[in-house]
Amino acid sequence: GGIITQTPKFLIGQEGQKLTLKCQQNFNHDTMYWYRQDSGKGLRLIYYSITENDLQKGDLSEGYDASREKKSSFSLTVTSAQKNEMAVFLCASRGTGGPETLYFGSGTRLTVL
């Protein structure tokens, strides 16, 4: 089996700061995702990537950048952290062949002071 590793687990930033979240997978999956999890709002897609060097915007991409320089890694940057923002960011990957199962990391919890 494989694993998805997200770093850091906890991220504390200051208002206006640029913050980067990292995700690594060893499933050899092509497609990777970044979701934001907020209570009562479910999982909202920020960015996804179908293959290395591909980037696709999700429904919540404003205020974020992403990078997929290697097949195994997918990073997300908060371009300017918003004061009092708190959320959990989840990375996921999915194999090819159609509507396959998503495999998730354990998340990065962001707090902006």
Partner: protein
């Protein structure tokens, strides 16, 4: 576009009572896959059930769900709730292969089971 509706944001149950979490969906594709993911506190969300076959019951870890295309529903059920079932449950939809890489998630239902 596709949509998934989980009408209950919070379900609170006494241990031993049956569980039913509602999920309805909209899609134009006849071969859509429906999924239930479970997210326990301090763990990663993971797949609980999935199905694309109409009227076939799918079971895993005591939970079951049946995809009913006629009513566009995929409700999650369990005969007897346990304290350890307390978690956040997401229903998700993924349509036909080859075109859509964006599964659609519902807003999630938080299940709280108390003694």
């Amino acid at each position: 576009g596709d949509s998934v509706t989980q009408k209950e944001g919070l379900v609170t149950l006494t241990e031993g009572l049956p569980v039913m979490l509602n999920c309805t969906y909209q899609t134009i594709y006849s071969n859509a896959f429906l999924f239930w993911y479970v997210h326990y506190l301090n763990e990663s969300p993971r797949l609980l059930l999935k199905s694309s076959t109409d009227n076939k019951r799918t079971e895993h870890q005591g939970f079951h769900a049946t995809l009913h295309k006629s009513s566009s529903s995929f409700h999650l059920q369990k005969s007897s709730a346990q304290l350890s079932d307390s978690a956040l449950y997401y229903c998700a939809l993924s349509d036909t292969p080859g075109g859509n890489y964006k599964p659609t998630f519902g807003k999630g239902t938080s299940l709280v089971v108390h003694p």
